[in-house]
Structure formats: C-alpha cells, structure tokens
C-alpha cells in the first residue's frame, strides 16, 4: 500500500539553525500538508499546498517557515532559524483531492537545543 514517507525520523539542531524536513507524498496525490504535534498536545495544522502554492496556512506558520515542492516527488518544510519552541513532531500528509482522506507520514521528530 502506498504511503507518505518522511526524513529524517529524528533531528537534533541548535537554536538559530536552519532545518529542512523532507516528505515524499503518495504519488497520485495533489494536496500536501504539514502538521505538528508538540509533546503532549494536540495535532496542529501548519500549512496546505496545492498546485505549487500555499492554499491555507495557520497563524503558527510565520515567516520562519516555508514549504517547497522542488521536484515531482518531494515536499519540504524549512524552518529558517529554529527556536526552542519549534521542538515537536512534524507530520507530512497528502490527499488525492480536497475533502479526501488525508494520509499521514510517520513524522519527523525535531529537537531544538
């Protein structure tokens, strides 16, 4: 069964460093998402992406965050200058269309020290 894959599974970075989290969505999906989950808290929506542009973003997704689909398969989340509070599990997800089931990857655990 096709699945969303994410790398790295765990990354430790120093405060102020740039981080890129990578995702390979399911191949025939057109909508891509990033969510995050701070330890012990709920899953929070960050951004949705369709047709090579951001379709919606939350208030969390400030200028420190950016997303890109650099080629036909990858979907990346960049955090420009990490803060301690960016430590969280970041989930990539994709769906075939808006309103379809969203499938999640296994997550990338980011620890900012």
């Amino acid at each position: 069964e096709p699945e969303v894959t994410q790398t790295p599974s765990h990354q430790v970075t120093q405060m102020g460093q740039e981080v890129i989290l990578r995702c390979v969505p399911i191949s025939n999906h057109l909508y891509f998402y990033w969510y995050r989950q701070i330890l012990g808290q709920k899953v929070e929506f960050l951004v949705s992406f369709y047709n090579n542009e951001i379709s919606e973003k939350s208030e969390i997704f400030d200028d420190q965050f950016s997303v890109e689909r650099p080629d036909g398969s990858n979907f990346t989340l960049k955090i420009r200058s990490t803060k301690l509070e960016d430590s969280a599990m970041y989930f990539c997800a994709s769906s075939r269309s808006s309103g379809n089931t969203i499938y999640f990857g296994e997550g990338s655990w980011l620890t900012v020290v």
């Binding site: 929506f45 919606e56 989930f91 309103g99 089931t101 999640f104």
Partner: protein, 110 residues
Amino acid sequence: AQSVSQHNHHVILSEAASLELGCNYSYGGTVNLFWYVQYPGQHLQLLLKYFSGDPLVKGIKGFEAEFIKSKFSFNLRKPSVQWSDTAEYFCAVNGDDMRFGAGTRLTVKP
C-alpha cells in the same frame, strides 16, 4: 474554518468496559469526519472515516462511530476495550481544511 472539540481529556477504563469518546464540531457546510489513533511513540493511524451514506461507520479493531448531523457530533464507540487500545484518539473534521481535536487519552487497565 471549522473547529473541533473533544470532551474528554483522559479516560481510564478496565478491560471489557464499553467506550464512548465524544467529538463535536462547528461548521456550516458539508464535512468529512475522521477518527485517528496514535499509539505510544507511533504516528497517526486512521481508525475510520465518514464521507456520506450510512451515518454509522465501522472501522478497524472493532471501533465504530455515529455521525449525528443535528448534534454536530461524531462520537467514537467500542463495546469492549482491550489493554492494547491504550492510545491517544483524535477526532478530525475536514471542512475548509483538516482540523483536529485536542485528543483524548485512553488508558485501559488490564
């Protein structure tokens, strides 16, 4: 955008007890509804989903949920829980976009 609320933060049950986890949403349009489960240390997994048709939806591992449109609710049920059901359960609503509830932690005591 829609909002989602899950009433119970933490539920503790003994094995074989029946389970019902509440989920309510607010949104004026058509929605798709989901329950996800997150076992300790693992990623989100889809339990069940409702798009249309029979409002009583059956999912994996003996779970079911009922969509009651008039109450804007989509409660998750299981007649007899097992220790292995210990996990965090998230209700999610897809209206304008996908929004999750705060989650309900279920602890099943053996």
